[in-house]
Structures are given as structure tokens and as C-alpha cells.
């Protein structure tokens, strides 16, 4: 589909409170859903369905925008963002993080970062940028602009014990020297400084402090914001979701929602598609986790590690275009030892054998590992093998997660994602 840029701009102008774009390698769907939760109390929100984040999907969203919608919340693909920003002319832009992801589609990380730099340089000065300061490449986008909110985590107690093997950009964006990290939270996200003094994480406008992680159930943290401090009780697990919540609260603040009110509204947040979604099936519970790159998968595994004992795990790896055709990233996941406590692990998806091979080299090729290529059958088998009251952890790539979601909808166990109220 070819769309005249003017047309997209005209459609977006109908939203009088403006449009927020949300871009990041990890977390854009969840952040958009969180922001929607915060804003939906005040107005109807025009938002795109998960994954419909390329120019065509955004055009479709704007065409079918509810008549009474006053604000747009659009998750935008990283590579498509410069084009979308130029035509939609957003009021607020959330730039979250850039991780190695689907390299075969996007070219390399560096290329996306370059395009974002060019894009930011050409933005209307009225645009408010919400920047994930824990990511050096994002923090550096700030330049000398005025309208900026930086968000990040500031709590060494929840930092990684050692450097994350999947870390991407750990070299100074200005001089190439290795950053010194006071704390590393996820992959290359953390509190960093260049030893030559060329760059360090900027002062945080929205900071998560005194973070307490509570397994798959969620987390609690203190939010320090420009308008005061508040307690955030997040029903989603992992530091990733702390980052996502900070991004959503900062974006809402840029639109005029007080941060304490936004924090309070987030407590009622239900998981976005495949992001720690919990579904009851025959007295058991399936926990769905979307995985798409080593850093996200490491974080998902860490979040569930303590709850795996005696439970079943399904890992589904597809290699469709939306998943990334290149599946080599599974070798960068640190699953050595992590799946040990599980009662059983089923490898599934179009590249199920590849996963089985990965597990073999993690010394997990014993009787507990099985292979069922069909994703729906694999989940069914795991449910059958689970004791009453037990849990099945399903880690799946994007198209595999869609298959699971369709199967669950067909069985009446869940509403279609795009229909659920969040």
C-alpha cells in the first residue's frame, strides 16, 4: 500500500490532543497498552493492534479511528519510525531502547540508531521526547533539545550480578571507549559513564527507585517524577516492565496526566498480548511469554526461573518474517541451567529441532525434553502433563504466539487480543 504522507497527517490531525508514538526494540506493545490504560480513563484512545506497527498498519488504524477519539497511541516499528514521524507529526515520541533484533530485516542496530539521530535532528522543537536513558544510544539522542524527559532505573540492588552476555552497545557513542557501568539492569541498559568523560547517563526525570521484584507476579517501586514521588504496584514481572511503566507514565505526564494518578491507574493493568499473560485452562494456568531476541528471552527466563519447579515449559520458535528469519539468536540466550528445575520442556515451532539442538548443548537432552512441531498440539500436551493447579510456561516467538492465541480464542478461553479492554 502506498500512502501519501499528507493524507496520514490529515488523518492524525483529527486527534485534537495529539499522537504519541512509541518505539523500542523491546516493550513497545506493552508500553502502548500501559499508556492506553492510563489515558482511557479520560478519553477514547485511537491505537493500533499489536504488531500492526508499519506504515500500512498505522494508516489503517487512523482511518478506522473511533469518532470520539481525542488522542492517538501508536506503537511504531523502529525502522518505520522516521517516515511515520514525518507524516503523523506526533506531539510526544517515546524512544525506549535499541537491541539487536531481527537483523535480517532491519540491517544492523547502528543503522537504526543513525536514522533516529537524523530524525530527531529534524523534529519540530515542540515535540516532547521521552527517552530511555538507560540505553546509551537513546540517551545520546537528547542533544541540546529542550522538551525532553529521561526515564530509567536507579537501584543498584536489582542490577545484574555480572555483565549480560547478550549486551549490545557498551561502547561510548562518541569516542568508542568501553563504558564503565555502575549498574547493568538488562542487556546494555544501565547506569554508565565513558571513562574519557565523553558521555554519561543523563539526569533521570522519571526514576524507579527501591525496586522490589516479586517473581512472575509483578514488582513494586518508588517513582520519583518532576511532580513528586509515588508508589507503583505493577502486576507485570521483570525489570523490563519497570522500564515500560516509566515510559508510559512519562508519556502520560507529557500529555498532562499527573504521575501519581498514572501510577495508580497502572495497578489495574492487564498484560498485553503474550507479555506474561495468564490464562486458566482446565484447572491449570498457562503463562504466555513472547520472546524475540536474546535479551528479552533472558529476562523472561530470569523472571520465571523461581517458579519452574515441577511445571511444564513449551518453547516455540518460528522463523517467519515477523519472527526474524535468522534464528541464530537462540544461541545467545543464557539458558544453561535455567530450565533444569522444569518437569518437562517441549520444543515446538517451525524450527523446533534447532531448539532441541540448543538444549542439547545446554546439557538438557535427557528424557525431559520432547519435540512437537505443531504449536497448538505442543501446548495441549504440556497442559495434559501438568498436575491440577500447576502452570505451563509458554515462551514463543511472534507468529507462534499468534497461533497459540488463535487456538485459545477458538476454544473460548480468551477473547481476541484486539477486543479486550485494557
Amino acid at each position: 500500500m502506498r500512502i501519501a504522507p499528507d493524507y496520514l497527517g490529515t488523518l492524525a490531525e483529527r486527534l485534537e490532543a495529539g499522537v504519541v508514538t512509541i518505539s523500542a526494540t523491546n516493550g513497545k506493545t506493552t508500553t502502548a497498552a500501559m499508556l492506553n490504560t492510563i489515558l482511557a480513563h479520560d478519553t477514547t484512545v485511537c491505537r493500533n493492534a499489536a504488531g500492526a506497527n508499519l506504515v500500512s498498519g498505522i494508516a489503517t488504524t487512523l482511518v478506522h479511528c473511533p469518532a470520539d477519539a481525542r488522542v492517538g497511541v501508536l506503537e511504531v516499528d523502529e525502522a518505520a519510525l522516521p517516515i511515520v514521524a514525518a507524516s503523523v507529526r506526533p506531539r510526544v515520541m517515546v524512544l525506549g531502547n535499541l537491541f539487536r533484533d531481527q537483523l535480517d530485516r532491519h540491517g544492523e542496530l547502528e543503522l537504526v540508531a543513525d536514522r533516529w539521530r537524523t530524525m530527531v535532528a529534524g523534529l519540530d522543537p515542540q515535540v516532547t521526547l521521552v527517552l530511555g536513558a538507560d540505553d546509551p544510544a537513546i540517551d545520546a539522542l537528547a542533544g541540546t533539545r529542550g522538551q525532553i524527559f529521561r526515564f530509567g532505573i536507579d537501584d543498584p540492588a536489582v542490577a545484574l550480578p555480572s555483565r549480560d552476555a547478550a549486551a549490545d552497545s557498551t561502547f561510548c557513542v562518541y569516542c568508542g571507549a568501553a563504558y564503565h557501568y555502575d549498574a547493568m539492569y538488562l542487556g546494555h541498559l544501565g547506569a554508565y559513564s565513558c571513562p574519557r568523560g565523553d558521555h554519561q547517563r543523563g539526569a533521570l526525570d522519571f526514576a524507579a527507585r527501591a525496586v522490589r521484584l516479586d517473581g512472575v507476579r509483578g514488582s513494586v517501586f518508588r517513582l520519583d517524577a518532576p511532580d513528586g514521588s509515588s508508589q507503583v504496584v505493577l502486576p507485570l514481572p521483570g525489570l523490563y516492565n519497570v522500564e515500560n511503566a516509566l515510559a508510559a507514565i512519562a508519556a502520560a505526564f507529557a500529555l498532562g496526566v499527573p504521575s501519581a494518578l498514572a501510577s495508580q491507574r497502572l495497578a489495574a493493568f492487564a498484560a498485553a498480548f503474550g507479555r506474561f499473560e495468564r490464562i486458566a485452562i482446565d484447572g491449570r494456568e498457562a503463562v504466555l511469554l513472547l520472546i524475540k531476541n536474546p535479551t528479552g528471552a533472558n529476562e523472561a527466563l530470569r523472571a520465571i526461573a523461581a517458579d519452574l519447579a515441577g511445571n511444564q515449559v513449551v518453547v516455540a520458535l518460528n522463523d517467519g518474517v515477523a519472527d526474524g528469519r535468522d534464528v541464530s539468536w537462540i544461541w545467545d540466550i543464557d539458558l544453561e541451567g535455567l530450565l533444569e528445575p522444569a518437569a518437562g520442556v517441549i520444543c515446538s515451532g517451525t524450527r523446533a529441532v534447532e531448539l532441541e539442538l540448543r538444549l542439547r548443548y545446554a546439557d538438557l537432552d535427557d528424557a525431559r525434553v520432547g519435540r512437537v512441531a505443531d504449536v497448538e498440539t505442543a501446548v495441549g500436551a504440556a497442559i495434559d502433563a501438568t498436575r491440577d493447579g500447576g502452570e505451563v510456561y509458554v515462551l514463543a516467538t511472534y507468529t507462534a504466539m499468534l497461533e497459540i492465541q488463535r487456538a485459545l480464542t477458538r476454544r473460548g478461553l480468551t477473547q481476541p487480543y484486539w477486543k479486550t479492554e485494557r
Binding site: A165, D326, V327, W329, W331, E354
Partner: protein, 246 residues
């Protein structure tokens, strides 16, 4: 006796699952009762050629590539002496390009390589991306090498350098779909990742055999139960054939 696996600059050169190659070499040695030590070389460190039994060079992001090229050039004499001493070296993707004299990117910027192998690389207009299948003859046996390629560079081999194999499916060295990789003695360069060694265990075992030989030990490795590898190769071959691009 401990076999020392030396990945060069893994913090910069671990892009396409390159760590998988290290894991596979180490595990296949351990499963045979050999002791293994993985000794990564970090930026700023000097390579001690007598303390390496197999050397791995992976691929990185474009910016990191320039950073690593400079460091690597400083280690070229040590690498050359290790190679002359019979230490096997596997270089993948960006690492393969750095084996050569130079890399010319699309904007015409030149990055000098180590010059360990007579080859050079010039970036083309379009990235070459997809599953690959290569016919390789190594140590008297023929193998199907499977994996994934993703490179902008077009590599030309010097007249004295043999390709690693013949492309069945894929773009290969220069996008013509003819030759893939390079091989000079125990130095192997290739664009194939995926990563390379998990689905090509014959190549992992060849590297281990050479590493044993370098330590003056017989090149004998107990057979392993490679049924899962076999299934993965069958699936990968079918996948590559379905999407024959050239």
C-alpha cells in the same frame, strides 16, 4: 591436558549467535572427556600464541568492526605465528572479512584487515540474506554445510586461496552464488553463521582434531550421538532448498 579455546574479542564480535560456536566446541570436547578452557581475548590484551589451541573470530556490528580491526591488526603477528604452528582458526562473517587485506564499505571508507589471508571485501548495494547450503570437501570427506548468511560485503579471494566450498543455495562470497568462504591450511573463513558449528558438527570435530594435533596428540575423537544434529541438518537442507534464491 587442557584444550584452550580462544574467542577473539567476544564482547564485540558475538553478533549472530557466535557464542554458539564456542559452546559447541567446548561441549563436544567435554563429552569426550577432554578438559577445556575458554580463554577469551579482550580488547587491549595480547594474544599469547603458544597458549591457544583453537581460535575463533566472529562477526560484529559495523561500528564495532572498525574498533576491532585496529585491535586485531596489532595481534596479526601473534595470530600468524599461531597459524604457522598449526593452530586452527575459524573466522565467521565480519571476522572472515578481517582475515583479508581490507574492507571497503558503501561510503567508500576503508577498514584495513589483518592480511593473514590474501582476500579483500567491498560492500555491495544490497545485503545478501538467507538460508544457505554449501558443498564442502574437507580432509577427504564431502559435507553439506548449512546455515544463514547476512552480509553486504562481496569478498574476492586471491589467486592462491581456495574457497571453502561450492554454493548449492545462497549468495556465497561475492553474490554470484558460486564459491563460499576460504580455506588455507587450518584457517577457515566463511559467511555462514546460524551459528555455524551446531548444525555442522563435522566441522567442529575437524577443528578439535586439529587442536589435538597441535598439542601433539593423535587426532582421534570418539563418535557422539548426533541424532539431533542429523535432524537439524535435514530440516535446514530442506529449508534452504525451498527458498533457493539464485
Amino acid at each position: 591436558m587442557t584444550l584452550r579455546i580462544v574467542p577473539l574479542y567476544p564482547e564485540l564480535l558475538s553478533m549472530y549467535g557466535d557464542r554458539g560456536n564456542v559452546r559447541v566446541l567446548a561441549q563436544r570436547a567435554r563429552w569426550r572427556g577432554l578438559e577445556v578452557e575458554v580463554v577469551p581475548l579482550a580488547l587491549g590484551e595480547e594474544l599469547d600464541p603458544v597458549r591457544a589451541d583453537v581460535i575463533l573470530l566472529g562477526g560484529g556490528q559495523d561500528r564495532d568492526q572498525a574498533l576491532v580491526a585496529e585491535a586485531l591488526r596489532g595481534q596479526a603477528p601473534a595470530l600468524g605465528s599461531a597459524i604457522a604452528d598449526g593452530v586452527p582458526l575459524l573466522a565467521v562473517c565480519g571476522g572472515y572479512q578481517l582475515l583479508g587485506h581490507r574492507y571497503l564499505d558503501q561510503s567508500g571508507r576503508e577498514t584495513l584487515g589483518t592480511g593473514l589471508v590474501d582476500l579483500e571485501t567491498i560492500a555491495g548495494p544490497k545485503r545478501l540474506v538467507g538460508n544457505v547450503l554449501v558443498d564442502v570437501e574437507l580432509a577427504g570427506a564431502r559435507h553439506s554445510m548449512v546455515g544463514f548468511e547476512n552480509h553486504a560485503g562481496r569478498t574476492t579471494l586471491g589467486s592462491g586461496v581456495a574457497p571453502l566450498g561450492r554454493v548449492i543455495v545462497g549468495a556465497g562470497n561475492d553474490g554470484q552464488g558460486l564459491s563460499e568462504g576460504c580455506r588455507v591450511g587450518r584457517v577457515i573463513g566463511t559467511y555462514v553463521h546460524g551459528p555455524l558449528l551446531p548444525k555442522n558438527p563435522w566441522l567442529a570435530d575437524q577443528l578439535l582434531s586439529w587442536a589435538l594435533d597441535h598439542r601433539g596428540l593423535p587426532m582421534l575423537l570418539d563418535p557422539l550421538d548426533d541424532r539431533i544434529e542429523g535432524a537439524a541438518v535435514t530440516a535446514a537442507v530442506a529449508q534452504a532448498r525451498r527458498e533457493r534464491r539464485f
